[in-house]
Subunit: 331 residues, 2 copies
């Protein structure tokens, strides 16, 4: 059996920006081995004072919208400005990590070989805390390793969009011009989470259509209720082919960053995200414990079916689960 | 001490449409007395086969938008068509029920005295299941009593909008013309929940502005991702003063009802709402039980502060809570 990693060594290595040790630490975080999880928790806690110094950018959009291409261009632009970039890709449709299925090497040719960039697919297996919990901790490790920009990308389609917005400072939605069919993959509610919208592939015959879509979306966003922070989402157009729009997107995100820091929402949002994650994890741990008890899982499943079909009311169903728990006090 | 109510008698009375007994049953549901809650649960379960035969319309909007006035006109219109209407008003900002503070008698003059209408403020005190759980059960009782239209109205401002959408078939958002300040009270995300929008007070000098707002909102909604059911929310204008728009709103809701029933989403949504309510209640019951244990509540509060301030990671904090629970198996 492989010996447990040395936490002190990992910590030192990460703080020194050692990528090999950062990768080992992320693998530790992603491990489902309980002993590894305790070590990972200790490592994170020790590194916490060195975290937080990055801008976390969540990026989502339907397959085919050009996320990888955008991240490649945008990332190279950031690196050109002296930034150090980590790209974490979440694919909830796959339990296989290690980047093999994602083909990151071909997805982002320049970034994947650049010394100032670190690309890592994020495990999304059924571990404690949902799709993004491991990504949340990976973000912290990357920050401790000196990465000042973290891009968190959703690769698969699913619930992860909402979860990514819960671990990002800025949530960016990529769209194609021509509303309608293209929008089908985007869940209702996603647009109201976006801090910025980008119309991709705005080149050639598509330019006019993209500009028109930009106006329409800007109008639509204007009519949505404002963000709690007072930030009004902006819409930009981009072309990877013509290499246009990247500077404008960067400027928008910079403007957002300054806006949020000036009014205190930047830290406020992060603090609230921390609290939300704690409650979600605690909740999940309690449910796991509950369902691990003899007979409870079957009872919950049975009740779910009855409740779904309106044969038992939710309240009665809960009572019939709690009745199986010795020492449970009804309230 | 008052004797416990007779469930068989309440059931029979409700099925016969007896309003006095319906009111008594709702009071039983709202009671925090555990013995009452067991009886209420039994009553609901016995009445379940007689529930579901109504259209549940959730209505929200900022104070001053004219919700009561709209419900008065719309409700009288429905009654004119032979409908039997129950109006349940949720005020999460108040724990006082019984309608005294809401002044329902003056809010809806005609409805409040009409034999085919039943107006009831809905208790929103800190009972199991959040703001709307009691309202959910009250809806079932009203259905068993023969009400074929249930309006669930949010009176206060708060989280209740989201919860009301979880117990409605059709979620209606009332707005004033002239976006901007008036929108501040509406949380981001509410608009994407709406199945229909109404611009109120579309009369006199306000008519042109309201029509223009209607076009703008319709455009904005068109650019939002479509509802899972394929329903595209519509925007109508109304004036209580000129008595216009009510027929159009009624037609929109009828159209929605037929649309959802034809494609199976009507029942599907209700089934999912049932399941959601069960999980939420079970979750809440587990938390209550957890926090009732010696020392746990303090530990959770302590951890919340540390997590909020980024001094402990969420995962560590959860571990430090679970460590206090004897027999809890880490996973």
């Amino acid at each position: 059996m492989r010996p447990l990693p040395d936490i002190a060594q990992l910590k030192e290595g990460i703080l020194a920006g050692n990528i090999a040790l950062l990768s080992r630490a992320i693998t530790l975080i992603e491990s489902t081995n309980p002993a590894h999880q305790v070590l990972a928790g200790a490592l994170i806690d020790q590194l916490l004072p060195y975290t937080g110094n990055s801008l976390r950018i969540g990026i989502t959009g339907v397959p085919g919208v050009g996320k990888s291409t955008f991240i490649e261009s945008f990332g190279m632009h950031l690196i050109g400005k002296g930034k150090k970039l980590a790209v974490l890709a979440i694919d909830p449709s796959s339990n296989i990590s290690k980047g093999s299925i994602l083909g990151d090497k071909t997805r982002m040719e320049q970034l994947s070989v650049h010394p100032m960039a670190y690309i890592r697919p994020s495990a999304a297996s059924g571990s404690l805390g949902g799709v993004t919990y491991k990504t949340r901790e990976t973000t912290l490790l990357c920050e401790a390793a000196g990465f000042d920009t973290i891009i968190i990308e959703t690769v698969g389609v699913g619930q992860s969009e909402t979860e990514v917005s819960q671990i990002s400072d800025f949530f960016l939605l990529l769209m194609l011009a021509g509303a309608g069919d293209e929008l089908q993959g985007i869940k209702r509610g996603i647009m109201e989470m976006a801090d910025g919208l980008i119309i991709t592939k705005a080149d050639g015959d598509n330019i006019l259509k993209s500009k028109s879509a930009r106006s329409e979306y800007a109008r639509a966003l204007h009519f949505l209720p404002p963000n709690a922070s007072g930030w009004i989402p902006e819409v930009k157009i981009c072309s990877a082919y013509d290499r246009t729009g990247i500077i404008e997107v960067d400027a928008m995100i910079e403007k957002f960053h300054q806006h949020q820091q000036a009014n205190g929402y930047f830290l406020k949002k992060r603090n609230e995200q921390n609290l939300f994650a704690f409650r979600q994890l605690l909740n999940e741990a309690l449910f796991r414990q509950l369902l691990a008890q003899q007979g409870i899982k079957d009872q919950v499943k049975k009740m779910e079916t009855l409740v779904f079909n309106n044969q038992v009311s939710p309240y009665s169903a809960v009572r019939q689960v709690l009745d199986l728990l010795p020492g449970f006090h009804h309230s």
